[in-house]
Symmetry: C2
Subunit: 509 residues, 2 copies
């Protein structure tokens, strides 16, 4: 489907009043700027000084070779690298400001950069939870159900590889199963695990099969992304970097995200945490651009703070919101797409989960984040994926999508004639102007209950979380997988079977 | 206490890490602008056309006299007025851009205008609710407890007259009881009811007693506000306008707030609803400025939408957020202080209540609202005041207050030496830089629970709403009224007793 047809389809979906989601969602508002231009420069300068004077531990031989060849000061026995500012700034300048990620359904392609916003499914939790079954270790069945929900909710542009870790599957081959699940249960752009080269190679091979392309064609048209995290402070682990290099060589999108929890893995001051975040992100992005100039990369921010009473990580805090906005300014300074997250530290889907998520979500949107990862389903600081939170988050995302639709001011919408028709003290329910527009005038909720108290009480007095439970079960019951060519499906199955016979990633797992 | 001392006190309070609230809370960020300059002008022009060509019903003889004398085209038998644009724009230009409201404790004075933000207690619901006693008609005891909580939570700058209607008290005199409660249980700026002249006169008399001033002095230093609502579309009721005129004559703050629910009391399009809101607000503000040029007034916005399936009002919607932002642009076009609200349409304190409130709250803050009314306690579209929602809202307001504290970027906060000290792979818990700052580095929550799942579960697995229940009860148990001069207290009691003997506002109630 062409982009134009996709737009028309989205317009028709909007016209129904139920789905405010566009395949391409763009932010019409100017970003909130929390830093002055001087402050942005001060953080930039501090991070270059960190890379020059303190340097980073780089625990990948291949990365050390690459950086040494590029002129970095490499201490091989110490696996430590100092990067001078010229090397860093020249390298990051080669990154594209914007790129397209290609889904197997072209109507689901996403643009990364500019003022586009893409929402992504939660990725990585060890536990799954819902009101019926409680909190338990994640399984492949849970992962598949969360992936199905992500497809059905129709507000998530990108699907994480595994919304919950399928711990019932062997570590050496579970990436094959989850890639197969994401490819066949959705038609979206998805995530590969960057933990080691082989997982990336498998993901890229399966991406090529899914899109009916050869390896070279897939390298030229990225269709997946992978996250590389710094092991903050100032360290990149070996498998992570090896995986990141493989992602870049394969032409796929690399998201470089330090995890700078202020007070623990970074300084207790937000400015210091941002300087460290920026240093670590620039180092990873520079490496990518040295490996393959012009490689599609995303500047990732994940600065939050700990609770200084207990050391527990906190998310969706005022400090988090500030760091998200500042991170956007840093990313824009380098003309790089920007990734952040919809987070909370709550143990249950309640008012706290919602207000912490909204603090995050508003900051990501108004910080002109291009990719909001963990946008739906994240609970408990990312330790748990929640089925009910999926629905609560989807409602918040749909509301945000509706909020981003520009307000139309025209002779018709100013409605002078309707006011004349109705007159003082009248009402607009029956006005011609209302009747022509009422079906599509307003956002129509997925979850919110606006019935009066008595009606709501008679119907069982359900909280939003209880209603969310009913909604996800109904959606799973009605779920239909997106169509896939049977030959492609067969080839994917063959690939997975062969690689399982070969032992997957083997002992290295 | 001087403003400077108040600032220092607030700084010390912040330094404790528990209260992020400043007596004067200011917004360091540029507002979100949803309308282009041309769109602002189009709405402005449309509203002037409404007032010129359609006019408004004005159901107050006194207001009709005043407007006729000022040159408006008055249809006396029809109680209808057309206002030409010259009259309107000249009158509103006389309003001050900023003014001070004086509390009986000068440390609690508030600035209305500029980039100051003030939060106000919920006002007006008919019902009270909490987890122990459920939903019931409001009483004076409930009103007093909510007022005590507002004082204790220390994040509300302004107290509504009655956070819940005390329906156990006679209508003719209950305004005297609530004014006495607000004056003695808090030390803040408060609301009078503008429903009829006599209620305003009583409030102003009690304000003068409370502050030890004569009537003239109180007229020159406003210490209360009152809201006048249009009976939208395009009508002002008699008692409301008579009360508004009394507020203005007494030199107190008048908040002019049309209630333009798109699709019901205003056009189904947000632009049309805004044009009507603007017309109604300008008419009320113009009347105030004709009565007393330079009178302190606030531009009120309350444009939301109905659920077009049921006709039920919806709050905290994407449309509401857009209208709040646009309303701020209109208020700033006229250099007027701006009032909006923290709203939701939820029947219970759950995730929906929180996400609808956050949609509202972010829009009020980023729309540079100067007065966020109903900032704490509002539930169920304003029909119910909730004790648990008071605490949930207070947490959201405190988080927002912390978010508004500027991010400090300096050599010290950039923390290069701390990163050198800790080095790659280390942690910052024990760093000197951390130890010097950890107590005050981050927002410290009132309600949010950041314990890990196991600890939280063992402690009873309480939701935020359940914890809020414990918090408000503990706060009420520990509540201490702010000191008041016994002579003033006696004089207030005498005034209330005398006015009760006189029958309060009498049969007119």
């Amino acid at each position: 489907m062409s982009r134009e047809r996709a737009r028309r389809r989205a317009h028709r979906a909007n016209a129904g009043g139920t789905s405010p989601v566009l395949p391409l969602l763009a932010n019409p508002y100017a970003p909130i700027e929390i830093l002055s231009a001087d402050q942005v420069e001060a953080i930039h300068e501090a991070s270059l000084r960190i890379l020059e004077d303190l340097g980073m531990d780089i625990w990948s031989d291949e990365a050390l070779d690459i950086l040494a060849a590029a002129g970095a000061e490499v201490d091989r026995p110490g696996r430590h690298v100092r990067l001078d500012r010229g090397l860093v700034t020249e390298a990051i300048a080669k990154a594209p400001a914007e790129f397209t990620l290609h889904a197997r359904n072209p109507a689901r392609n996403v643009r990364m950069g500019g003022n586009f916003i893409n929402f992504g499914l939660v990725g990585g939790p060890a536990h799954a939870t819902d009101l019926d079954r409680g909190r338990r270790p994640g399984t492949y069945a849970d992962a598949c159900d969360l992936i199905r929900l992500a497809q059905a909710l129709d507000v998530l542009h990108i699907i994480g590889g595994a919304p919950v870790a399928p711990i019932d599957l062997p570590v050496a081959t579970r990436h094959l199963d989850t890639a197969y699940a994401v490819i066949t249960l959705t038609d979206r752009v998805w995530h590969a695990s960057a933990l080691g080269r082989q997982r990336v190679e498998d993901a890229v091979a399966m991406l090529a099969i899914a899109r009916g392309l050869d390896r070279e064609a897939v390298t030229e048209s990225p269709g997946l992304v992978a996250v590389v995290n710094a092991n903050s402070p100032l360290r990149y682990d070996g498998a992570m970097l090896d995986g990141a290099i493989a992602v870049v060589r394969a032409g796929q999108g690399l998201i470089v995200t330090p995890f700078t929890l202020a007070g623990a893995m970074s300084p207790v001051t937000i400015a210091g945490a941002l300087a460290q975040q920026n240093a670590e992100a620039l180092a990873g992005i520079a490496l990518a651009q040295i490996v393959r100039p012009g490689a599609p990369v995303v500047y990732g921010g994940f600065t939050s703070n700990v609770d200084m009473k207990s050391g527990a990580p906190a998310f969706g805090t005022p400090e988090y919101a500030k760091a998200v906005l500042a991170g956007g300014q840093l990313a824009r300074r380098y003309r790089l797409p920007y990734r952040s997250s919809n987070v909370n530290a709550c143990n249950v889907v309640d008012a706290q989960a919602a207000y912490e998520s909204e603090m995050s979500l508003w900051a990501t949107v108004m910080g002109h984040c291009n990719y909001v990862l963990h946008a739906a389903g994240w609970l408990e600081g990312g330790l748990t994926a929640s089925f009910e939170k999926m629905v609560v988050d989807a409602e918040m995302l749909r509301m945000m999508a509706a909020f981003l639709k520009p307000l139309e001011v025209s002779e018709e919408t100013l409605a002078f004639d309707a006011m004349r028709e109705v007159g003082p003290g009248g009402h607009f329910f029956g006005a011609a102007h209302t009747l022509a527009r009422y079906e599509t005038a307003f956002y129509s909720p997925l979850l919110s209950d606006w019935r009066n108290f008595e009606t709501w009480e008679e119907a069982g007095a359900q909280t939003a979380t209880m209603r969310a439970n009913g909604i996800w079960k109904a959606m799973l019951a009605a779920y239909q997988p997106p169509p896939i060519d049977p030959g492609i499906d067969e080839a994917l199955k063959d690939y997975v079977a062969r690689r399982k016979r070969e032992g997957g990633i083997g002992e290295a797992a």
